[in-house]
């Protein structure tokens, strides 16, 4: 598939980023260090009451992990973004995000006054601050994805964080099927057992990409996705 790079930038560790990813463009997130985590939430930028619905996403595709071919469904039966490329095979939809109390308990507190931009931040506050920049609030928060992380579920339902899942160079690419407000946060995964506060940057590449054809890997991943693409395409007619 041909594509042209629009720009590249770095998302620092433990920080938040947002952009309205336009239909027809893509975002590639690449790990610069090992054991990275990037939390993400997604809203329809043209009507933010429509947003990522992870239960719909999982049950429509019969999955509890995200990888190439998976798409991110909104609560309205449409596809916000598709995962068109992925080197890992597993991104976590279950673990949620860290909060101030969890970070203080695990890593100790570290204020901006003392530590400047190495202070201890958490994903929940990052998401809420970024949502507020678009006039949105706590009611607009939703279950988040954690790219580059893996939480395995055993037969008894128990959840197990897999350490050392991702490595420098691992990447995931999201193609916007709608104009999607993407909010990323690079704080550590809330189930990461490491007690070392770590700021891990990732590189972001914005691209212009071709529209998904009939042979598209995401469209053909499940029969449900074929209908999801049809409904999304109708939204723009």
């Amino acid at each position: 598939m041909s594509s042209s790079i629009l720009w590249e930038e770095t998302l620092h560790g433990s920080s938040t980023w947002s952009h309205i990813l336009k239909r027809g463009t893509a975002l590639r997130i690449a790990a610069i260090e090992d054991n990275t985590n990037v939390g993400a939430i997604f809203l329809n930028a043209d009507n933010p009451s429509e947003r990522l619905n992870l239960p719909d996403t999982l049950k429509a595709q019969h999955i509890a992990r995200l990888s190439t071919g998976s798409v991110l469904y909104s609560d309205m039966g449409r596809i916000l973004c598709s995962i068109t490329d992925d080197t890992l095979g597993w991104h976590d939809p279950l673990g949620g995000c860290s909060d101030a109390a969890l970070v203080a308990k695990k890593y100790g507190s570290s204020t901006y006054q003392v530590a400047r931009n190495n202070w201890h931040q958490n994903a929940l506050d990052g998401f809420l601050i970024e949502l507020a920049k678009y006039g949105l609030g706590p009611r607009d928060l939703m279950m988040n994805v954690n790219f580059f992380s893996k939480v395995e579920v055993f037969v008894d339902g128990s959840m197990h964080f897999i350490s050392a899942h991702s490595a420098a160079g691992d990447a995931v690419e999201l193609r916007a099927e709608m104009n999607t407000l993407v909010i990323l946060n690079s704080c550590q995964h809330p189930m990461d057992p490491s007690h070392e506060y770590a700021q891990k940057p990732v590189s972001l590449t914005l691209k212009q990409v071709e529209a998904p054809g009939l042979d598209d890997v995401c469209r053909n991943f499940r029969p449900e996705n074929g209908r999801g693409f049809t409904l999304t395409e109708r939204y723009f007619l």
């Binding site: 009451s49 619905n53 992870l54 239960p55 719909d56 999982l58 049950k59 429509a60 019969h62 999955i63 509890a64 992990r65 469904y73 609560d75 309205m76 039966g77 449409r78 597993w90 279950l94 673990g95 949620g96 995000c97 909060d99 109390a101 609030g137 706590p138 009611r139 607009d140 928060l141 939703m142 279950m143 988040n144 395995e152 579920v153 055993f154 037969v155 008894d156 339902g157 128990s158 959840m159 809330p190 189930m191 449900e224 209908r227 999801g228 049809t230 409904l231």
Partner: protein, 226 residues
């Protein structure tokens, strides 16, 4: 699958201060105050009861599926599970459960997701998020407080069986519930409960036959330190 733990409740139906039957396809909205117990009974068996909870004093602080499963390190809900809110408050605790496990990853059915999951011409079929919206809008009109689509987040599916496999697959299986089984929760703070008794006919979550459930409420017991 490990053995499910069955925990019966000592509370008697005749002592309940409130009791209602919710038919399949209907919604039910009610406040459960701190210390009160609420029981949901699967009257005829294999009936999914889609349920949302909110902090009664601040609906922006609401049930969070991810925080609940992460806190207990298990995706299934049963006796002992604390239902956590987005602000990390314990809303309610499951204190009795004769079914053994409940789902919180399967979400609620919607006319739109039914089009994706089954066929585009299934849009006409009744769905939980229709009931959630109807219940939320009626509650909002009655109380003057905002409660609408933005507040319909990840819910609990009482009595529903949605296994996740170690390889990362998710499936809808026949229910593990049966006629008369129930789940009972104690409110740890004042909460608002929004129920949709699931009308889904396209998958086995209701054994293809949606049926009524009952909801009972007891007042706080003296030994509970309110």
């Amino acid at each position: 699958m490990p053995e499910t733990v069955i925990q019966a409740s000592p509370r008697l139906p005749e002592d309940a201060i409130f009791s209602v039957v919710v038919e399949a396809g209907d919604s039910f909205v009610h406040e459960i105050y701190q210390g009160q117990f609420v029981r949901i009974v699967d009257l005829e068996g294999n009936q999914a009861v889609d349920t949302l909870f909110y902090n009664a004093h601040d609906y922006a602080d609401r049930y969070s599926a991810q925080d609940t499963i992460r806190e207990q390190r298990n995706i299934y809900l049963t006796t002992g599970t604390k239902l956590m809110s987005t602000e990390r408050n314990a809303l309610l605790t499951i204190v009795a459960d004769t079914c053994g496990r409940h789902d919180t990853l399967g979400g609620a059915c919607a006319t739109e997701s039914n089009m994706v999951r089954y066929a585009i011409d299934k849009r006409f079929m009744h769905a939980c998020r229709q009931s959630f919206l109807k219940g939320a809008l009626a509650w909002s009109a009655e109380t003057g407080r905002e409660l609408d689509k933005r507040d319909l987040t990840a819910n609990i599916n009482f009595f529903m069986n949605v296994p996740v496999t170690p390889s990362g697959k998710l499936t809808f299986e026949d229910g593990v519930s049966d006629a008369g089984k129930y789940v009972e929760l104690r409110a740890e703070m004042d909460t608002l409960m929004v129920i949709s008794n699931c009308p889904q006919l396209n998958n086995p979550c209701n054994a293809y036959n949606p049926t009524p459930v009952s909801v009972l409420i007891w007042n706080a017991t003296q030994e509970f330190d309110v």
